[in-house]
């Protein structure tokens, strides 16, 4: 099974990298791009056929390692 995990900064957390990207987009003429928030994407392959097991494992690794709960929130999507 595969799981996609997106880790993003909490809305209240300042994102200097996102801001820099957003400024670059404006310089390129994309005035409509009002703001950018940067995050991380993980594609996790799991050696299990059980959707429930994959969901559980992906949640666990996201919670324990991939995201820092002080700064970030995460979403898990199991595929297949």
């Amino acid at each position: 099974m595969k799981a996609n995990i997106i880790v993003r900064l909490k809305p209240a957390v300042h994102d200097p990298q996102g801001e820099t990207i957003s400024n670059a987009l404006k310089q390129l003429g994309y005035e409509q791009a009002v703001s950018v928030r940067q995050g991380k994407f993980f594609e996790l392959s799991l050696d299990t056929d059980s959707r429930e097991e994959a969901q559980r494992l992906a949640q666990e690794v996201a919670r324990r390692l991939l995201a820092n709960p002080v700064l970030e929130v995460f979403e898990v999507e199991v595929q297949g």
């Binding site: 209240a12 957390v13 300042h14 200097p16 990298q17 820099t20 390692l65 991939l66 820092n68 002080v70 700064l71």
Partner: protein, 223 residues
């Protein structure tokens, strides 16, 4: 005589500077301890040094926090002995939940490497035992992720409980409340971003770092 342990992780690079300060400059037995060791028996204090433990991949300190030695670090903290994290070591203590907050990328998005001014906010901590509140020091920083972040409630708690030990005079990274170093409520776990291990002799620009290590010795001896 207090005995010190300095942890060594794959990618840490300041362990020998810390050992040099404590052992060669101040004359206290100090061992380098590989991160796969699981015991820290017989040590009065442990220092988590700066560098790039486990390459800083994912987030600084995120992988190091699962190193086999970390449960022993947590027991030292629990037993009231001194646990000090410098720079990357501070980030590890945050990831391990031994200190609050987390480090964001520096506001400038650049690696900052220079001397900064620090004000001692709290005397009587493992690194400020022999200093006075209001003392000003010059200590170098060298980091990309030193922008201290905690939510409003945690910041309020840090201030109210008097847990901020060092504040920047000229905030180099955007850190909330100019925070450069904090301690836990019990007072024995301390993290700071600047590097006292890089300025312990006048030839290095200042010897202010030595005062912090002298404090660590004094704090440890009194307990």
């Amino acid at each position: 005589m207090p005995r010190f342990a300095v942890l060594v992780f794959p990618g840490s690079n300041c362990e020998e500077d810390v050992q040099y300060c404590l052992q060669d400059v101040l004359g206290h037995p100090t061992d380098l301890v590989w991160h796969k060791q699981t015991r820290l028996d017989g040590y009065d204090a442990v220092i988590l040094p700066g560098g790039f433990a486990h390459g800083d991949y994912l987030r600084p300190g995120a992988i190091a926090r699962f190193s086999p030695v970390m449960p022993a670090v947590a027991s030292m903290a629990e037993s009231g002995r001194a646990v000090v994290g410098i720079c990357n070591g501070f980030q590890m203590l945050q990831e391990a939940g031994l200190l609050p907050g987390a480090m964001l990328r520096n506001r400038s998005l650049t690696y900052v490497c220079r001397y900064v001014g620090l004000r001692v906010e709290k005397a009587g901590s493992p690194l400020t035992e022999t200093l006075r509140e209001g003392d000003e020091l010059r200590i170098p920083v060298g980091h990309a992720d030193g922008n201290f972040f905690a939510d409003e409630r945690s910041l309020e708690a840090l201030e109210k409980k008097d847990l901020v030990v060092f504040r920047y005079l000229d905030n180099p990274n955007g850190a909330a409340h100019d925070i450069a170093g904090i301690r836990n409520e019990r007072g024995n776990v301390l993290g700071l971003m600047p590097h006292p291990d890089r300025c312990y002799e006048p030839a290095l620009g200042t010897a202010d770092g030595r005062k912090l290590f002298e404090s660590l010795v004094a704090w440890t001896e009194q307990r």
